[in-house]
Symmetry: C2
Subunit: 307 residues, 2 copies
């Protein structure tokens, strides 16, 4: 697969040399750079493309909102707080000035609403699909930065909200990035590792596993399945959809047993928190079914064990 | 024209509310944000699109280099020094993994070469043209930030290097952003206003005029015309081409008579500096021809005076 190949290639480039002021580089949800004087900034950059991240004909207000929310969800995954945003809009074949203004307004509004005022950008037209890039710049939250790489064997795996059916149910165009939830979780608990669910629970949880050098064990029964994954257009097994659909923009995090229990008991700012598994020694990741079957967890769901 | 309409619309949005920590927002080459604690960052975001900023078939190494150099040229225009960069690459219809790696390598290399290590980004594929967005983050240079808005009547207008024929001559794919020159100019002289020539000398100089609330008077004879504008594919009057072609990525700046004279005498880091005009009271901008004719300077060149 070209994308995985390319990401590996980029990681090799990144591994060759890391500037001393770069605390977190490629391989996490956002980069963390230390400025002369000691202040730190958190930065990330994300695209939404017509036909890939939204359907042709989607309203400009929804496109703008999604573009901003996606980038800010990466700041949430680091427990960072937003400072500002920049955007580059390729309007593609869209030539209607009113439509363009509506998209611009939506970007502006979403940036203001989520606490990252728009401070600059670039606009252009071309042939082809619309492509909106948003760069979000933030600051470490009060409890500091949470990375992907700190999960420890024995940790519990937790998730906010419920998963699956985000695209078929239209949530991917309406979600609010879990910025406040992430900061509150990091203030109340000792969060060892965190990521936002954009590619799907299994894929994103395996990112934590890989960066932390651990395995994961998911309990299928404990995964909170969103009603959108039960009904509507998508079809398929609801747990599989919760594992694979992606674009949920919920937070998955690893913390000790006690903190996980407390988070699950109280939730965070009105959003439920579920304990869905635990961190294992070694590199193998599993999903355990209600009938006791254990299957290897793969980035796109699961596979039958060979043995 | 849709783009001008849209830019006006964005400026109106920006004028409605400016966060107190935002020292420079939309309307300059880059934004300047003050962090809690007092540190300042400079940030800008720029796209290059296949068929708009480079021809289909352009080598990936040239595309990557141009994407990075363009964004960093905006930092140069503020006399900022680069810290880091992020990039979002939409590979469009390009599916060749080796080609993708070559573009990635070029982005990586250019970022390292120009002093803004690549710290993050996003990749995706879609139909349509290739689109590369680069966000450059910098810090104020030792002499602070230079804006577009400080030109004063009586200032001289100066430019580095020579202008015109950048696209027909291929310079737009090879240029080095004037980062070091900008910092040295700002350290040696009291630069009142500066911009990089991306849209064309007349257009960009009028940006300074507009932001500074002044007029400009250009001496046609004094404009340094690049050999690429004299020969080769483009055709047309060489001075007109130096005024309009754009993509020169030279620095245009306004400073007092004495500093301008000294800059023109010494150049900067081996690059010549030419005095090409002066700043006038009022909002009217002119170009003066060798035979004494005076014409109104327009964003796309010049127009016959109505009177």
């Amino acid at each position: 697969m070209a994308e995985r190949d390319l990401i590996e290639h980029i990681r090799r480039l990144a591994a060759r040399s890391t500037p001393p002021w770069l605390e977190v580089g490629i391989g996490d949800d956002a980069a963390v750079a230390r400025l002369p004087g000691g202040a730190r900034i958190v930065a990330t950059c994300d695209m939404v493309i017509e036909g890939v991240h939204f359907q042709p004909g989607a309203p400009p207000a929804a496109i703008g909102r999604k573009a901003v929310a996606r980038a800010l969800s990466d700041l949430a995954a680091m427990a960072a707080r937003p400072l500002c945003a920049l955007t580059a809009v390729n309007f593609g074949a869209q030539k209607d000035t009113e439509w363009m203004k509506d998209l611009t307004d939506a970007l502006w509004r979403a940036c203001a609403q989520f606490g990252a005022p728009l401070v600059g950008g670039d606009i252009a037209g071309s042939a082809g699909p619309i492509c909106v890039t948003v760069t979000a710049i933030g600051l470490p939250g009060p409890a500091g930065i949470v990375r992907r790489s700190g999960a420890r064997p024995g940790d519990r795996v937790c998730v906010t909200g419920a998963l699956g059916g985000s695209i078929s149910g239209g949530r991917h165009l309406r979600f609010t990035p879990r910025l406040r939830e992430a900061i509150q979780l990091a203030e109340r608990f000792d969060i060892h590792a965190m990521i936002d669910v954009s590619d799907g629970l299994s894929t994103d949880l395996l990112h934590i596993a890989e960066e932390s050098g651990v395995g994961m064990e998911l309990e299928a029964e404990a995964i909170p399945v969103h009603p959108d994954a039960l009904a509507g257009g998508g079809g398929g097994d609801p747990v599989r959809r919760a594992l694979e659909d992606g674009e949920d923009y919920e937070l998955v995090f690893c913390t000790c047993e006690r903190d996980a229990t407390e988070a699950a008991r109280t939730g965070v700012l009105g959003t439920p928190v579920s304990i869905i598994g635990r961190v294992r020694r070694g590199r193998r990741s599993l999903i355990v079914w209600p009938d006791g079957r254990r299957q290897t967890l793969k980035a796109t769901g699961w596979e039958h064990l060979k043995s």
